[in-house]
Subunit: 311 residues, 2 copies
Amino acid sequence: MHLRIIIFFAWAFQGFSLLGQEKTVAERLGYPADTKLLIIHADDLGVAHSENRASIYALEKSPVNSASIMVPCPWFPEIVAYATENPEMDLGLHLTLTSEWKYYKWGPVTSKDSVSSLIGEDGYFYPLVPDFVAHAKPEEVALELRNQIKKAYASGIDVTHLDAHMGAAASTPEHIATYMRLGKEFGLPVLLDSRIHAVDDVKIKSLLDESTVVMDYIHSILPTDFEKGSTQYYTQLLRTLKPGITCLLIHLAYDDDEMQGIAVDHPEWGAAWRQADLDFFTSKECVQLLKENDIVLVTWREIRDKITRVK
Amino acid sequence: MHLRIIIFFAWAFQGFSLLGQEKTVAERLGYPADTKLLIIHADDLGVAHSENRASIYALEKSPVNSASIMVPCPWFPEIVAYATENPEMDLGLHLTLTSEWKYYKWGPVTSKDSVSSLIGEDGYFYPLVPDFVAHAKPEEVALELRNQIKKAYASGIDVTHLDAHMGAAASTPEHIATYMRLGKEFGLPVLLDSRIHAVDDVKIKSLLDESTVVMDYIHSILPTDFEKGSTQYYTQLLRTLKPGITCLLIHLAYDDDEMQGIAVDHPEWGAAWRQADLDFFTSKECVQLLKENDIVLVTWREIRDKITRVK
């Protein structure tokens, strides 16, 4: 085939014109432009046995169709075993730079001497994002995140996407650029929303191109919503979901001794919170709501293979 | 200590008489020479929330009177909080050089580049002692163990003694010498039995002096005993306890989802095993057996303060 024709077809399949991104993500994935596309995405796999069990149950038995894994966490090997035995599952990496719980901790996968700006005096990651931002050297962030991705691949996981635990990997323009660069390096879509276009940063602007996929909406239940009831929040969300692509970030675990111990001083995103997420997304009502509202589930693997990796 | 009881501690369960010490440990602690002294010692604190909860319960509500902590494990901070709030508890360090469970892992507290001989390709400690022995460089063992002790002190724990998870820190004469030297360096008694006098090693002989405390007996239930019933084993053990000092190593946890997940492929030293230990040592029958058999409980803190640290 003539070179010019190849170039033409490459553009055609990606749905781009010289004027920019005229086609929506839905159209680029082969759906009508006004489709309500949804990724129901479980965060924090690997953090605990409770989280792993609940997330695996939901991935197998419910509309939850995607999840991401925290490579530095103690229960990572359990998810590796699951991922390698179930390669069809849509599993990405929840890039991790914080260790936020009071009594249960982890640190970098990189040798500590090489990423000393990422750890506190106790040898673990800093608990919260502001501590991380205050100390982290950009080159050490890049090294640690690259090593997390390399470890996941070395373990045999078919990584479908990258996202950022507690947003740490996307907390400054410099870290966002690293996060986007790693996506390009490994041919993986990264979780971003349309605010990325407004960031006044040369490095970020240079990374935005036809392979970039930007969510139209990212939703995650907040403490004020949780207080009013998870079912109410999610029901309303699904009933009012807008056309475009939405990533809904949820956290699944059992309200058991382990998860209660982890979130001992932290009801927000705690054991009961995660059990409530699990209860809703494994309910018949959730399935019914998706159907009634013409919501189409889509995975990161589809995005990766139909957009990110198409040249 | 669990899984493969190796080389050094494997000998211990038969018991050895004392040679070369003029006064018995009982006498040095102020008891008649023929007293039946017992340390009821819970291993593996820090390994899991289930282990921490069960061990704390037993330390507070039962004759279990001593325990040791695994510094590299994810739940170490939970035990730090307990130890610093309860400084009277008899808590030592279960020096850790292996990560033996299938789906739940940890590695060194030292920067990995400095102790690369202690870790496998996956970045964790080797699972079993023979792997550890085959790879470990003695200077890296010393560095890691010293860093575990320093981390415990920096965390605020009043360390009462040292012992060796799975016997790894006492698996070769060279590692035993390191283990004993660290005891001297920090003024801490280390778990040894009288076979130490028979080891034909100049370094070890030079470390044996009047501050060395050697257990007359070390006991720990084995799989064949567990099969016949934990209660039967411990009842018989307490009824036939001999005069002298005995250290009884037990493992306490609940037979819950977390512990079942950790010991998923390993009924030996598994969740039901640890629950059976907990059930026996928190029973009225245990208290009664100690009383009926004139058994006197003694702590590592008494040994540390009355023998090890007396010049």
